[in-house]
């Protein structure tokens, strides 16, 4: 087994255990950052190895890394690291305000590492059963974090999150059982029939009826975690009521990871079926999510809730792109996954500090951020402009790719998408603008806010919009070919 890979999984595990013991220390936040940073280093080394030597398998093919998941591994480790950096001052301020106890901090730090581990296992495992187990583990590690503040609203949000995602993921288990059932006919019983690489080789022989029923269950199951409408109810609540660093990783990473599992199954289903069954379903759910989320955006009063709906909208757009398929749309979808993840977590970082300053999440009471802290204000403004798809940010590039493919392949959907994006633009921009400009009522924070992560993310998104390095483009192209 490659040493980088071993480190990639053992570091967050060690971090989870260490922080379960020492997570309430005053230096625990630094320890959390250190573990996340080391995980990112391991991920970067793994990327270098895969780029140089091609796909690799580990632990008797139980794990494998190809061009599709390696880029998500790098992205996940990177955003986990920057969010740890952001959470250091953020959680310290929350602790000073008395919203979190010492035990709460221990839970928070430990679960943060274990959550990272669960996501990395989902991304790297080759075994579809383990993928399910790790996905459920990702829910379990975050459910107590959503309820960290123990307020009425946060307990309700966490309960909803647990029950809805639990029921959803149970459907995905049924789907996985059905896929195993189809595979067992060809590959025989045993762990081998659950390995994605083995299934991929025989995908054209898998029983089409079973695969289509399985895909419906999987779409409902993992789609709940992606936040596709009408399975999205848990998402805005969990994002609004949990601590902001958790909102950032839920939005920026967990949704991507859930969508990744769906894509893996889509590849298998497409191989088994003659007709574009999976594609149509993905396009339908994606388009519905974009439209419904755009309309809900205009009605939001809570800033974190609003950006949670914006995540639903963007995940819908990405799902639609993968539904259309083909090299350009898949390329656009992968690029959009990257830039959305980076931009949305940057926005949540800025929003986190803004709400701490204003002492509320209600947008009507947050005013004039530029006066009190220009960097938080500009971070929020630039992040908003970026997520709304303004050039020259990377989101513009990916949305442009997706929309131009839609014009060519699904012309009927283009006006719907454009109108929805327009509504989203008007609602979000109209609400963020007075928050940033105007007179201020905000107070000073006891600890300096962490703004390096915000601007690092935005700078990367800007770079991706202006110039994409050829090796990166090549990497996306390979991954897009894999998706088909």
């Amino acid at each position: 087994m490659a040493p980088e890979f071993l480190l990639l999984l053992s570091l967050p595990l060690a971090g989870g255990i260490a922080l379960a013991l020492f997570g309430h220390w005053s230096r625990a936040a630094e320890l959390n950052v250190a573990f996340s940073a080391l995980t990112f280093v391991a991920a970067a080394a793994l990327v270098a190895r895969v780029v140089a030597g091609g796909p690799l398998a580990a632990a008797g093919e139980q794990f494998f890394i190809d061009s599709l998941n390696v880029f998500l591994v790098a992205l996940t480790a990177f955003v986990a690291m920057t969010t740890a950096l952001f959470s250091r001052p953020y959680m310290r301020i929350e602790r000073d305000h008395g919203r979190v106890s010492a035990g709460g901090m221990r839970l928070y730090h430990s679960m943060y590492q274990l959550f990272t581990l669960a996501m990395l296992v989902v991304l790297t495992t080759n075994n579809l059963g383990i993928m399910w187990v790790a996905m459920e583990a990702a829910t379990l590690t975050t459910v107590l974090l959503v309820a960290l503040y123990r307020t009425h609203a946060s307990l309700e949000a966490a309960w909803k999150y647990f029950i809805l995602c639990g029921v959803g993921i149970a459907q995905a288990l049924l789907g996985t059982i059905l896929v195993y059932f189809a595979a067992e006919k060809i590959l025989g019983a045993g762990v081998g029939s659950l390995l994605w690489t083995h299934l991929d080789e025989v995908k054209d022989q898998l029983e089409p009826t079973v695969m289509s029923i399985a895909f419906v269950f999987l779409l409902v199951g993992y789609g709940t975690k992606v936040g596709l409408v009408p399975l999205h109810n848990w998402l805005p609540d969990a994002h609004a009521e949990g601590p902001t660093p958790i909102s950032a990783v839920l939005s920026g990473l967990l949704l991507n990871v859930a969508l990744y599992s769906l894509i893996r199954f889509k590849v298998l289903t497409d191989g088994a079926l003659e007709r574009p069954f999976a594609s149509h379903l993905l396009m339908g759910f994606g388009l519905t999510s974009v439209v419904v989320a755009a309309f809900f955006l205009s009605r939001q009063r809570d800033v974190k809730r609003m950006f949670a709906y914006s995540s639903i909208e963007h995940m819908g757009l990405i799902t639609f792109a993968f539904g259309m398929g083909g090299p350009v749309a898949s390329f656009g979808g992968l690029l959009h996954m990257t830039v959305h993840s980076l931009t949305k977590s940057a926005i949540f970082f800025a929003v986190g500090h803004a709400t701490q300053k204003a002492g509320t999440q209600a947008m009507a009471d947050i005013r004039g951020l530029l006066r009190v802290n220009p960097t938080v204000g500009w971070g929020l403004m630039l992040g908003t402009v970026a997520i709304l798809g303004m050039p020259p940010f990377g989101v513009f590039a990916s949305e442009f790719l997706i929309l131009t493919t839609a014009i060519a392949q699904q012309p009927w959907a283009t006006p719907i998408l454009l109108v929805s994006l327009g509504i989203a633009f008007a609602s979000i921009f109209g609400k963020v603008q007075p928050m940033v400009f105007g007179e201020s009522t905000a107070r000073k924070l006891p600890h300096p806010p962490a703004l390096v992560p915000v601007f690092t993310h935005l700078a990367i998104v800007l770079c991706l919009g202006l110039y994409m390095p050829p090796y990166l483009a090549d990497w996306y192209r390979q991954a897009a070919r894999l998706i088909g």
Binding site: T151, H152, L155, E156, A189, I213
Partner: protein
């Protein structure tokens, strides 16, 4: 002898499982609900062991033992402690319209059989006829979760849904590979523990574990 009656016995177990699901759907006392859940686990364990014996799939003995440890002993025990500590042991839930709930349940069973038909035709297992019942159990647990307002019965509904899925796996493919089953069992156990902690937090905040208090977050 047993070889001959084996498949019929499995069908009998499946029928008992379905009956237990209906009983859970309409059971109002929380304590009895937990006992029904344990009984469901026991039937599941027996049928898994029987399938293992009939087919010679030795790994199914492992999952039968796992079921016994987790679903007959472990989880009911945790639930018993939980309701004693939460002081809801003798709680009775008001369920409205039990007859119409039964009717919806019957419709769900028919739906499940229809859905399972194309799959069980393809299955080569001796247990293929039970797949429809397994799906029906999943859907009935679903219905139970929707109709209950107290937290503990909702959780039992969730756990019994997992029982149905486990039965589906045994029926269609003689169980998932062992590593996956261990993983699923671990998730269920951790999930139940987290829910336990969680219910104390809810009670501390609301002075009851009725989820009707948890209906404030919605779109205005």
């Amino acid at each position: 002898m047993l070889q001959h009656y084996g498949p019929q016995l499995i069908n009998l177990f499946a029928a008992v499982l379905l009956l237990l699901s209906f009983a859970m759907l309409t059971q109002r006392r929380i304590l009895s609900l937990i006992n029904l859940y344990a009984a469901q686990g026991l039937v599941l364990c027996l049928s898994t062991a029987l399938v293992a014996w009939l087919t010679g799939q030795t790994h199914l003995y492992g999952s039968a033992a796992l079921t016994l440890a987790l679903k007959v002993v472990g989880l009911p025990w945790i639930l018993h402690i939980l309701i004693r500590r939460l002081n809801v042991k003798w709680d009775v839930e008001t369920l409205i319209n039990i007859p119409s709930m039964m009717l919806v349940g019957i419709v769900l069973v028919i739906l499940a059989f229809n859905l399972a038909l194309p799959i069980s035709q393809l299955a080569g297992t001796v247990t293929r006829s039970t797949l429809g019942i397994a799906l029906a159990c999943v859907l009935l647990s679903f219905l139970m979760m929707i109709t209950r307002s107290k937290a503990v019965p909702q959780v039992i509904g969730f756990l019994s849904m997992e029982n149905g899925l486990f039965f589906a796996a045994t029926g269609a493919v003689y169980g998932m590979p062992m590593v996956v089953e261990f993983g699923v069992a671990l998730d269920v156990l951790v999930g139940a523990l987290i829910l336990g902690i969680f219910m104390f937090q809810i009670r501390e905040r609301f002075d009851s574990v009725d989820t009707r208090h948890l209906e404030k977050l919605k779109e205005h």
